[in-house]
Structure formats: C-alpha cells, structure tokens
Amino acid sequence: MKILIVEDEPQLAQSIQAFLESEGHICELAENLSLALHLVDNVFDIIVLDLNLPDGNGLEVVKKVKGKGMNTGVIIVSARDSLDNKIEGLELGADDYLTKPFQMAELNARLKSLVRRVHFKGEEKIEFNELVIIPNELIVTVNGKPVDLTKKEFDLLVYFIANKNRVLTKTGIGEHMSKDFMDYGFTDDFIYTHIKNLRKKLLKAGCGDYVRNVYGVGYKFTDAE
C-alpha cells in the first residue's frame, strides 16, 4: 500500500512512518498543508491526515482528494475530538477519525479495515492458520466450522489478527473496544472478560491458543512458540 502521512509533528510523523514501513507499506511524509496538497496529485491508497497544520486545516486535503473522485482512503488523526470536527471530516468524505493520542495497533486496525472497505469492498477474507474471518458478514470459521461470537468478541478477534505478533497493552485493547462510548478507565475487567470468553469459544471450536498473556500487562496474538 502507498500511504501519505500528513503530520506536522516530526517525532510523531517518524513514528508513524517507521511503524507503517515495518508493516510493509510505502510511505511519504508531508509536514504542512501546501506540501500535502501538492503530493496528493499522485495516487495514494491511504492518507493519514492531521487536521491542525501550521498553514491551514487538513480538511482541504480531504476536499481535494474526494473532489477528484480518487479511490483513496482517508484517516483523520486529530487532537480535537469534538463531535463537530468528526462529523465535518466524515461528511467531507474522510473514512475514519482517530483521536490523539492513539496506539499504533489502533491505527493499524483502522488502516486494515479501511483497506478492506475501500479497496476490496469488504470482500476480503482475513485468514490466520485455521481461522477464517469474513468481516462483512461477521462470520468466523475454525477449520471451516462457524464459531458463534458476539459483536465485541468478533471485533476483538479482528483487532488481534490485524496486530498479530505485536504486544498489545490492556489499555490499548480497552481503548479499541470502548471506542463507541466515552470511558474513563473502566476497561481492565471489561477486556479481561471478553478475552476470556473469546479464548474459550475458539479453543472449544478446535482452534489453537494464540492469545498469549504478556506478563500481565497485555496480550499478544501469535502462533509462534
């Protein structure tokens, strides 16, 4: 995937770039609006966009990209999490909205979900050994047999697989799971219960135990020993 990162904070931009490149994407950086507007003349698959830029509002980029009818996914990354900003961004055609600070795993999950939506129209299957997930239809199968998961467990599984082999902190998972509602740190018991249930269901269906506890601070989804 070819990704444009529009972010004026160099440290954060580098961090995102390093991460995305480690995931196998090709990245370009723009630290201000004029450069970003210039760069989007080329075709990108995804744009990771900060709104508060030194020389203007990042929404201009969304307007330009969507105005041209380019098949580009846009994820807005902003410190402002007010609903108005979100709605305005999404109305202009941005595909997702992420509030700072965020964890890379979250960006990664959103990115993958966006890629599926924009470039595969949601038809792509996610496969991990004996696990097959069809995101659009909320179907999970283990060795071809369907497993009955709740919406949250399903979401959690997709998140895990998107970030396989990465250490995911409890906080990060909690953030991801509670993104629908404002939550003031409530999440440890919450995610523990969900992960426990998900694990139980997968094991029962004959799936390998891929969810590893990392010293009690987080989890890792991996098939490596």
């Binding site: 410190a79 700072k100 250490v167 003031y184 409530f186 969900h194």
Partner: protein, 417 residues
C-alpha cells in the same frame, strides 16, 4: 429580619417612648398652668376678703367662702392652698375643688376662711388637652409610619430585585445580569457595581474555559508522541520482563493522563454549552441499551440486575448527553458495587431511580459530585464521572438527588417534561 421590619420596629419603639414622656410632661405642664390660674383667683378672692375687714361685705362670683370662728390661736397665718374633695349636696357626687385656707385674727376672735373654687371644669380641660396631646400625635405618627413604610418598600423593590437576580446568578449562563434602574443613587451605584462584576466574572470565566480547552488540546499531541514511542519500544524483541512491565506501565499512565485531559475537555465543552441540539429521548430504551453494553462487567462482578419500568419515561435533552449520563450512572453503580451485589433500576414517568449495594460512603454526600473526588480507592476511577453527571443534569434541567444508607446507594432523577 427585613430592613423594613427593623426600621419599623425602631420607629415604633422610639415613638412609644417619646409619646409616653411627652404626654406625661404635657399633662403635668397643663396641670401646673391650671393650678397657677386657680391659685391666682383664690388669692384675688382673699384680697377681697382682706379689704372687707371682717364686715362680711364682699361678693364673689367665682368662689365660695366659708368663714368659721375658731377657738385658739390662728394656725394658718400664711394662706395655704390645696386640693380637696367636697360632696355636692344636690347630686351627692364628690367634686374636686381648689381650696385656700387662711386664718384672720380680729380683736377678740379668729376667723378661719376657706375659699373654694371648683376645679371640675378645668380638670375636664386638662383631660381634653392631654387626650389631644396623646391621640393626635399617635394618629399623626401612625400615618407617618405607614407612608414611610410604603415609600421605603417601593424604593426597596429595586434592591430586592437585585438580590433575586444575584441569587439566580450562574456564571455558566450566558444571559446578562439585567438589573432594574432606580432613582435612588445608592441602589443605582450598587447595581452598576454588580453589572460590572457580572461582566468581569463572565469574561474571566470565558477566558479560563478557553484556556482549559486550548491547553488540553495542546497536550494531546505530545501525549500522542509519547504513546507511539513507548509502543515502538514495547514491540522490541529483546526486552526483559521488567522492562516490558515498565513500558506498559508508562503507557497506561500516559493513557490515564490523556483520559483526564479528555474528561476535562469534555467538561469544558459541557460548560461551553457545545451540546445544544435537543430531542426526545426514551430513557427506558436508553437504559436497556446501556445495560446491554455493560452486561459483561455486571456479570463479571456477579451483580444481579433488576429493571422495573412502570411507565414510559421520556424527556427532551441532547442525545449524546443522555447516553453519557445513563452510562456514567450505571458504571458508577457497577464500579462501587460489592461482589455479588445488586443494582435496582426503577423507571417511572419522568422519574428514574438507580440503586446499588456497596460499601458505606467514605466522603460526605456533598463532596460526591465534585471533580476528582474518589470514593474508595479505585485505581481505574478518575473521580470525574459523577461531576459530569451533575453537569449534564444541570444543563438538561434534571433534578438529581443522592441518598445513602449504610450499604445502599441511590440516585434519583426527575426529568422535565
């Protein structure tokens, strides 16, 4: 005590005091003047008698004279005047008289003269004067009192209006403090001062809110950098257990920091009245939705949940706020619950009760809704949820009450229609 009552009481007590002394003084003064007049008359009568030289050849129209010859020496050489009571022979009534007694010595005998002058007519006059001295001033002062009271009350309307408006003063409301104008300089000055204060307070408050929101936003970006860097570090393969724990702990701390920050931004937004659109919200539905969402947590703690709904419960408020409100209350009921406790939700028309078991409250009930006040020692609790609840209730005109007995905590909400 109201100013008007106080000044009225002062006026009345002072008046009673001065009336009492005034009318007493008046009475004695008139009494004295009348006696003086009567004495003069009696002395004049004595002069007539003196001139008659014992012949009894005197005629007095204004006084009666009794002349008695007495034995022994004259005891009243000097005329003696006193008051006396004499029975009227025709009516049998006792009447008051002024009497002058003197002895006059002739060649061989002493005659005692007693000149009496009825004081009844003058007594009536004295009574009338005294009555007049009492009644008229009392009437006069009563009228004065009521006029004064009325005018004071009228002038004080501005003052009371100011007090009423100041009582209703809310720094969060954007309407201006509109005080009545008065033709009284002192009140006008007072209102001017209050108006200026109102403006100043609101300006300061605005600036503070803006500042809070801006700082909070500015903080989010550095926090994002820290988070992403720590995340990178965490993914390194050569970390020891200790290091992983440290990094994960740091990430959690940063997350907590960011949560506090977000909560403050949220509160600032509430204060800035950013949630304006209101619509009809079905509380019953909302509770069912939120209960479903929080089900895993409820199960996790072994809490039994009882939801009774006797009537449709609807209110007009912002939808997003209603979600936050119910969710925070429910989360509060779960978080401060005991293992295998209970939550009881009762939903009636315009009325919602959320009750839960829990340990007794460590802080006072008043402190409960304050920011960063944590009941118990919950590591995941920021102590901000209930102040958000309070603020939402204020904004949406919902009356919220908290009651607590030993192990029972109850929130009661009354919605506007």
């Amino acid at each position: 005590m109201k100013l008007i009552t106080k000044s009225g009481l002062n006026f009345i007590s002072a008046s009673i005091f001065f009336f009492l002394f005034g009318s007493l003084g008046g009475y004695y003064f008139i009494r004295y003047a009348v006696n003086k007049f009567l004495n003069n008359e009696l002395l004049e009568a004595k002069a007539y008698i003196d001139r008659a030289e014992g012949t009894g050849n005197y005629k007095l129209t204004f006084a009666d004279v009794l002349a008695d010859s007495i034995q022994g020496p004259a005891s009243y050489r000097e005329p003696f005047i006193n008051d006396t009571v004499i029975m009227n022979s025709s009516t049998g009534n006792y009447e008051f008289y002024r009497k002058l007694t003197f002895d006059k010595t002739y060649e061989n005998h002493v005659v005692r003269y007693q000149i009496v002058r009825s004081s009844a007519p003058s007594d009536v006059m004295v009574m009338k004067f005294t009555l007049m001295l009492t009644v008229f001033p009392v009437l006069f002062f009563l009228i004065l009192y009521f006029v004064n009271r009325g005018s004071t009350r009228y002038s004080l309307t501005v003052f009371y209006d100011t007090i009423k408006k100041l009582k209703a003063f809310d720094v969060n409301k954007d309407n201006k403090l509109e005080l009545m104008t008065s033709d009284i300089d002192e009140f006008e000055q007072l209102n001017e001062v209050f108006n200026a204060m109102d403006k100043k307070i609101k300006e300061d408050f605005e600036r503070l809110k803006e500042y809070t929101e801006n700082t909070s936003h500015e903080l989010q970006t550095p926090l994002a950098i820290i988070t992403s860097r720590l995340d990178e570090l965490l993914q390194s393969s050569n970390l020891t257990e200790e290091q992983i724990k440290t990094v994960a702990g740091l990430m959690e701390t940063v997350n907590r920091l960011s949560k506090i920050n977000q909560a403050l931004i949220y509160l600032a937004k509430l204060d800035n009245r950013m949630f304006k659109d209101e619509e009809k919200v079905d509380i019953n539905n909302l509770i069912r939705e939120q209960v479903e969402l929080l089900e895993p947590l409820i199960e996790n703690k072994g809490i039994s949940l009882e939801l009774t709904s006797t009537d449709k419960c609807e209110t007009i408020m912002n939808k997003s706020l209603s979600h936050t409100l119910i969710q925070n209350l429910l989360k509060n009921a779960i978080r401060h619950n005991v293992e295998n406790g209970y939550i009881k939700i009762e939903c009636a028309a315009n009325h919602l009760i959320i009750e839960n078991s829990g340990s007794p409250l460590a802080t006072s009930t008043d402190e409960l809704f304050k920011r960063f006040n944590k009941a118990g020692n919950h590591p995941n609790s920021l102590g901000i949820g209930l102040s958000v609840v309070k603020r939402i209730c204020e904004i949406s005109s919902i009356d919220i009450q908290y009651q607590c007995t030993e192990s029972k905590h109850q929130f009661e909400l009354r919605f506007k229609n």
